[in-house]
Symmetry: C2
Subunit: 297 residues, 2 copies
C-alpha cells in the first residue's frame, strides 16, 4: 500500500447511508409491524455498509451528487441484509450470532426470518424502481444488473455452490464461487451507478469493472483471513465458522501467508484499475480499497 | 353465471405459457445445474398458470398481441412458484406434497429449496427487466408494481399475517390477509399489462382494478372451499391442510354455504367490472372468471 494513502473509511458516507436506511418505512399497516420489526432489526444492526458506501463513492468519482444514488445504495444494503438472514438460517449456515446480536431467526423465529429476507429483497426492488431518479432506460439497465447480480449467475448461485460444495476444484473454482457469492453484488454497487449515469465511455466502464472485480476478490480474501485470525468480538460472530462448516476458503486453499499475498495482489490490481479509470475523484474509492486491505495486515 | 358462457379455461394460452416457461434457461454454468434443476422441478410441475394466463388474456382484451407480454407472464409464474416453495418449507406450512409430487425441499433438501425460491424471484425480475419489450418508463412502472405486489404490502406481508395469525378479526381482516397474500399478485397479472401498454384511459384502469380485486377474492374463496371439499388427488396436495394448520379461511369464517354465496357475489362483481371496462375482447378474461367460479359449484 502506498505510504501516502491513509486507510480511513469514508465514515461520512456511511453516516449518510445509515440515516437514509433508518428513515425507510416499508408499510403503514399495523398488522405488519412484526414483519417490519424483523426486517429493521437486521437492516439497522450496523456494519460498514461497504456496498452502499461503494455506490456513493462511485457517484463521487464520476462527479455525480452522492445523494442522487441513495435509493440504489439502500437497495444494495437491503439485498445484502436479506442474504445474511437467509445464510444464517438453520438449514443453511445455522449461525446464532451476527454483528454481535442474535440472528434474525433466533430473535423472531425461523418462519418470520424467511419472510423478512424475502420482503427485504422485494422492497429493495420496489425502492429502487420507485425512488431512484434517472433516465428510465438507464434505470432499467441498473435494475436488470442488480437482478442478475443476485440471481442464479450471481449471489444465490454462489450461495448454492457454497452449501453444496459443488464449485470446481482449485483456485479457479474458489474464485468463481466467490465471484458469484459476493463479487457480483460488490460489482453491482459500482456498475449500477455507472449505468444510472449512462454517460461514461466504454473504456471507463471496463476499468471500473476490473476494479470492482478485484475489490470483490480482495474483500473475500480478507473475510476468509479474519475468520481465522479475528476475535469473536471483532467479527460480531463466532470466528472459525468456515472451519466448523468445512468450507473452502482462501486460507484453506493457500494458507494464511498465501492468502495475504493474494490480498496484496488484489489490492494492487484494484488500485491500478481505479487509477486507470481516469475519473476526477477516485479518492473515496481508493480509501475503501485501502481500508479493506488493511484489515488483513 | 350467464348460461351463454362456457366455463372453459383458455387452454391455448396456458400452452403458450407452458412452452415459454419450458424454454427458459437460467444459467449455462454446469456447476449450477443442481440449482437450476430444483427451480425447474417446481416451475414445470404444471398447474393452471392462472396468473400468466390472466396476463395474456388481459393483453388480448386490449388488443395487444399476447406474445408481447410472455416475458411478464413468465415473471409472474416464476414469482408464484417461488412463493409456493417457501410456503411449503418445514418452518412455514410444512407441506410434503404439491401438485401431486414431493415438494421442493423434500426432493432437493431444505437449503436448496430456500435458494431455489430466492433464485426464482431474482430471475423473475431479471427476465422481466431484460426480455420484456415496451417503453422504458412503462416497464419501470410495471416492474415497480410487481415488486410492490410481492413485498411487505403484498404477497410476503400476507404470508406473514397468515403464519402469525395476526390479521385483524372478522371478515375485513380475512379479506385483507388474502388481498395481500394472493390478491395483489393476481391484480398485478392484470395491472402490469395495462402499465406496459400505457395507453388505457383512467376509467378503464379503474374497472380493471376492481375486476382483478374481485377475481382475487373469488380465487381465494374457491381455494378455501376446495381445501374442504376437494379430494387429495384433485388438489395435488393433502386436503384439509388449512384445518390442520388452524388457518382462518372463508369456510371457517362463513361456513361452506356462506363461502359459496360470497363466491357467487365475487363472480358477479368481477364480471360486472369487466363488462364495464369497455374493452374489445373481454372473452378470455370472462372465461377465466367463470372457470374459477365453476370449481366451487
Amino acid at each position: 500500500m502506498p505510504a501516502a494513502v491513509t486507510p480511513e473509511f469514508p465514515d461520512h458516507l456511511r453516516t449518510q447511508v445509515d440515516d437514509y436506511l433508518a428513515a425507510i418505512r416499508f408499510s403503514d399497516d399495523p398488522a405488519l409491524a412484526g414483519l417490519q420489526d424483523a426486517m429493521r432489526y437486521s437492516l439497522l444492526a450496523g456494519g460498514k455498509r461497504i456496498r452502499p458506501v461503494l455506490a456513493l463513492a462511485t457517484a463521487a468519482a464520476i462527479s455525480m451528487p452522492v445523494e442522487q444514488v441513495l435509493p440504489l445504495a439502500a437497495a444494495l444494503e437491503l439485498i445484502h441484509t436479506y442474504s445474511l438472514i437467509h445464510d444464517d438460517l438453520p438449514a443453511m449456515d445455522d449461525d446464532d450470532l451476527r454483528r454481535g446480536r442474535p440472528t434474525c431467526h433466533v430473535a423472531f423465529g425461523e418462519d418470520v426470518a424467511i419472510l423478512a429476507g424475502d420482503a427485504l429483497y422485494a422492497e429493495a426492488f420496489r425502492h429502487l424502481l420507485t425512488e431512484q431518479r434517472g433516465q428510465p432506460a438507464n434505470l432499467l439497465r441498473a435494475a436488470a444488473e442488480l437482478a442478475g447480480a443476485t440471481g442464479v449467475d450471481g449471489m444465490v448461485g454462489g450461495q448454492f455452490l457454497d452449501v453444496e460444495a459443488s464449485a470446481p476444484a482449485g483456485a479457479g473454482g474458489l474464485r468463481h464461487l466467490h465471484e458469484l457469492k459476493t463479487g457480483r453484488l460488490i460489482g453491482a454497487s459500482v456498475k449500477c451507478v455507472l449505468l444510472i449515469d449512462g454517460g461514461q465511455p466504454a473504456a471507463t466502464m471496463e476499468r471500473f469493472e476490473v476494479f470492482a472485480s478485484e475489490l470483490g476478490v480482495l474483500f473475500q480474501i480478507v473475510d476468509d483471513i479474519l475468520d481465522v485470525t479475528g476475535s469473536d468480538a471483532a467479527l460480531g460472530k463466532a470466528s472459525g465458522s468456515d472451519e466448523r462448516l468445512g468450507k473452502r476458503t482462501y486460507v484453506t486453499e493457500f494458507g494464511l501467508e498465501g492468502a495475504r499475498r493474494l490480498a496484496r495482489e488484489a489490492h494492487h490490481n484494484a488500485s491500478g484499475a481505479l487509477a486507470g479509470a481516469g475519473t476526477r475523484e477516485p479518492g473515496q474509492l481508493q480509501q475503501i480499497t485501502d481500508f479493506i486491505a488493511r484489515r488483513s495486515f
